[in-house]
């Protein structure tokens, strides 16, 4: 068995709200191969988003480990985790989460700006702009390059978000309900884009969704129920 690209080992997460402790994840083990397209499904509150956040280092687990390429990453120092988020993981969210003050191009460039100190970025800005424009073209948004997110439709915003997640050349793409806010046709277009990325660039994709028809397009489906893995099934 080849070494898993990213692995969650006995992950537990408990949120504390006032006096109450709310267990969200109760021990989850998942391994994702390099180039695999995995979808996580489950009802609201089943902990699927939390699992995604833990694996993307947006949050740290109460118990358990996150292992990337055989190395534990959830307990690394803050700055190292910041770097990993910037370089290794790409995020796509249900509500797109573009920065409203910036144009599409600037939004896409944001990870690169964050990665480099100002002067380094300034020196390479032409190269990066070209890169960003290529990617925007690839997601089919070339005509919207100077627009603000508020001037875009939902599907366009999600394409911009995907372009932003790709510009940093990530190894793992973490998508949280990427189609959740879109009509089925636009959602399918986004799914086609993700599938293509997975196939052509052999990007590891972990996608959270509650829509079975979307989930089925992945290689494998993990079904979460009340913080535990319910079923693990191969997609058709």
């Amino acid at each position: 068995m080849p070494r898993k690209h990213i692995r969650a080992v006995a992950l537990e997460k408990t949120y504390r709200t006032g006096q109450h402790e709310v267990p969200v994840l109760k021990g989850v083990d998942i391994g994702v191969n390099r180039g695999e397209f995995l979808s996580i499904v489950g009802q609201s509150g089943s902990g699927k988003s939390t699992l995604l956040h833990l694996m993307g280092l947006l949050d740290s687990p109460s118990v358990g480990e996150v292992i990337l390429d055989g190395q534990r990453i959830d307990n690394l120092p803050f700055d190292t985790r910041d770097k990993l988020r910037n370089r290794v993981f790409g995020f796509i969210f249900q509500f797109y989460h573009l920065l409203p003050e910036l144009t599409v191009l600037e939004n896409v460039l944001a990870p690169l700006m964050i990665r480099h100190p100002s002067w380094v970025y300034w020196k390479r800005r032409r190269e990066y702009r070209r890169l960003a424009k290529d990617i925007i073209q690839k997601v089919g948004l070339a005509h919207r390059i100077k627009h603000r997110p508020s001037q875009l439709s939902g599907g366009e915003m999600q394409r911009a978000a995907i372009a932003r997640s790709l510009v940093a050349k990530p190894e793992v793409l973490l998508a949280d309900e990427p189609t959740g806010n879109l009509d089925s046709q636009t959602g399918q277009e986004i799914m086609d884009l993700l599938t293509e990325l997975n196939e052509v660039e052999s990007l590891t994709i972990i996608m959270v969704t509650h829509d079975d028809s979307i989930a089925k397009q992945a290689h494998r489906i993990v079904r979460l129920h009340e913080g535990r893995i319910d079923v693990l099934e191969e997609a058709a």
Binding site: H53, G56, L58, D59, F78, D79, D82, K83, L84, R85, N86, R87, F91, F93, F95, H97, L98, L99, P100, E101, L102, E106, A110, P111, M113, I114, R115, H116, P117, S118, Y121, W122, R164, A168
Partner: protein, 559 residues
């Protein structure tokens, strides 16, 4: 890079932040304006005070003064000769100035300063302060041109114009008295009345005679009797002991009502007492009913005579009186001095006060004024002089030390104003704090996005810190420009408000400055701007820390 970009975008899109920019701007502008005007006032005032007082002043503790100015000046030269440029000995004493204006006797308490005009002019800018050299200017408008050239040394003679005026006044008076004398021939009264040419009733005329004469000319017996016997005795004693001929009984010349004296003495001859009189003592301002403009009324003029009363040196001091001719009008621009100082010819004052030693013929002095080559040495010179001038007899100090309380008051005033104004900027700082908290709450989701994209907590924090700094820079930059413009055009603005309200905002009668004086100190501007920026950054620390501590997941979930 993203920090800079976001910072600039927030600056452009968050209009609420404009409020804090405006408050910083107003605070900075106000501070600059107030400071410039304050320091303009204070430096103008210092210039004027310094113009009257010399760099270093040696004051005798007693009004009687100390003997032999030359000896003490030599002493001063011995210890600090290379630093002293010029010196002059003066006599300062309190006195009373009397003259009449529109039949009203006017008495003013004054400080009489006996000076040598030549040496006094070397110690301070005396020529700039005398009307005959400097003319009379109100603002930039020349009211009276100077009558003497700047090359002349100031002395105790009248200008030809003033002399002509004096002659004319004497002639008029003579005419008046002649006609009056003719009419008041005993037994002729009734006929004068019958003529219908009687300007005065008998009792009125009795009042009128002395009143005219006190201003200029003949001195009736009433006032002569007012001179105390003590003073007369003193004066006579001095003179006889001195061996000089008693030509200078001052009343002798004043006594021109007597027909025999008139024959021997030129009626236009000047009194032996000569004075430069402070302009505030003889002028007042009224609003011209026709034009509404303020207008200066002079109660007496150069060439007129006034009376001076003071005390003699000695125990107990006795009063002494003498008439004096106004040779010039003194105008320093400091009302405190212009309303108080009368400069008198030194030897005559010494003589009148019995300060001339009968044995040696040397006069006593109360003050030595010293001009230094470089005022920066003043403290050193004061130290040196203190070592030779016994503190029991003399007080040595710079003009600043002498005017310490006044200058300190101005400094304290400006310090308090600065504190108050800085509080305004601090208030602006709290405004920034509140607005920033709002912006952080508003931007919570964006902060989550930035963190998801790999921004560090420090990076997020520095966005808000540099945002605060940017607000500070923009606010204080615009404030500095606004403040400097305001200072530059302050007199135009004053004119505008005067026009708008119909009331004089800056009344030169109150402040004695023709226009609002300003002085921009670059260091002050720098400090104000720097202070405002610091406050803006400090105010953004708390919201920035809050932003940095936001949990990315919670921030992302925030709607």
């Amino acid at each position: 890079m993203y920090k800079l970009l976001l910072c600039l975008r927030y600056l452009r899109t968050r209009y609420i932040a404009l409020a804090s920019i405006v408050s910083v701007m107003l605070g900075v502008a106000t501070m600059i304006v107030v400071n410039s005007v304050m320091s303009g006032f204070s430096s103008e005032m210092r210039d004027r005070i310094h113009g009257i007082l010399a760099d270093v002043i040696i004051d005798s503790h007693t009004l009687d003064g100390q003997a032999d100015a030359d000896y003490y000046m030599k002493l001063a030269r011995q210890v600090a000769g290379d630093q002293i440029e010029a010196m002059t000995a003066t006599v300062e004493v309190y006195g009373l100035l009397s003259f009449e204006y529109v039949n009203e006797p006017i008495n003013r308490p004054v400080t009489i300063v006996g000076i040598h005009p030549e040496s006094k002019a070397q110690v301070g800018p005396l020529k700039d302060q005398l009307e005959s050299f400097a003319g009379v200017k109100i603002g930039n408008e020349v009211k009276e041109p100077p009558q003497r050239s700047r090359d002349e040394t100031p002395g105790w003679e009248l200008t030809p114009e003033a002399l002509a005026y004096r002659r004319e006044m004497v002639a008029r008076r003579q005419l008046f008295f002649n006609s009056y004398d003719n009419r008041s021939v005993p037994g002729d009264e009734s006929s004068a009345r019958d003529n219908g040419w009687t300007p005065f009733d008998d009792d009125v005329s009795q009042n009128t005679t002395p009143s005219e004469s006190t201003t200029i000319g003949p001195q009736p017996a009433i006032i002569q009797a007012g001179a105390t016997a003590d003073a007369d005795a003193d004066q006579n004693q001095v003179k006889t002991a001195d061996g000089t001929a008693p030509t200078a009984d001052p009343w002798e010349l004043f006594d021109q009502g007597d027909a025999t004296a008139e024959a021997t003495v030129d009626p236009t001859a000047l009194m032996p007492g000569r004075i430069y009189i402070g302009s505030g003592l003889i002028e007042f301002m009224v609003d011209d009913p026709e034009t509404g403009e303020p207008k200066t009324i002079k109660m007496v003029r150069t060439g007129d005579d006034v009376k001076i009363s003071t005390v003699t040196a000695g125990r107990p001091p006795a009063t002494t009186h003498f008439p004096a001719t106004i040779v010039d009008v003194f105008r320093s621009g400091m009302s405190e001095y212009d309303q108080n100082l009368v400069f008198c010819n030194l030897e005559f004052l010494q003589e009148m006060r019995g300060m001339i030693d009968p044995q040696t013929g040397k006069g006593r002095f109360t003050t030595i004024q010293i001009k230094l080559k470089d005022y920066a040495d003043s403290d050193e010179v004061v130290e040196k002089l203190r070592s030779v001038f016994p503190p029991g007899m003399f007080e040595v100090g710079t003009w600043e030390q002498k005017q310490g309380p006044l200058l300190a008051a101005v400094d304290i005033e400006s310090a308090i104003l600065n504190i108050l104004l800085f509080l305004i900027i601090t208030v602006a700082g709290f405004g920034i704090l509140a607005i920033f908290f709002m912006i952080v709450v508003e931007k919570t989701r964006d902060i989550g996005i930035l963190k998801a994209l790999g921004a560090s907590s420090n990076g997020v924090m520095s966005i808000f810190l540099s945002y605060g700094l940017a607000l500070g820079i923009v606010g204080s930059g615009v404030g500095v420009v606004l403040g400097l413009l305001f200072v530059h055009y302050i007199n135009k603005i004053e004119e505008f408000f005067t026009w708008l309200t119909g009331r004089k905002v800056f009344d030169e009668r109150i402040y004695y400055f023709p226009e609002i004086p300003t002085e921009v100190n670059p260091m002050m501007v720098l400090w104000v701007a720097f202070g405002a920026m610091t406050i803006a950054v400090l105010a953004s620390i708390l919201p920035a820390r809050r932003a940095a501590r936001l949990h990315p997941v919670e921030a992302l979930r925030y709607e």
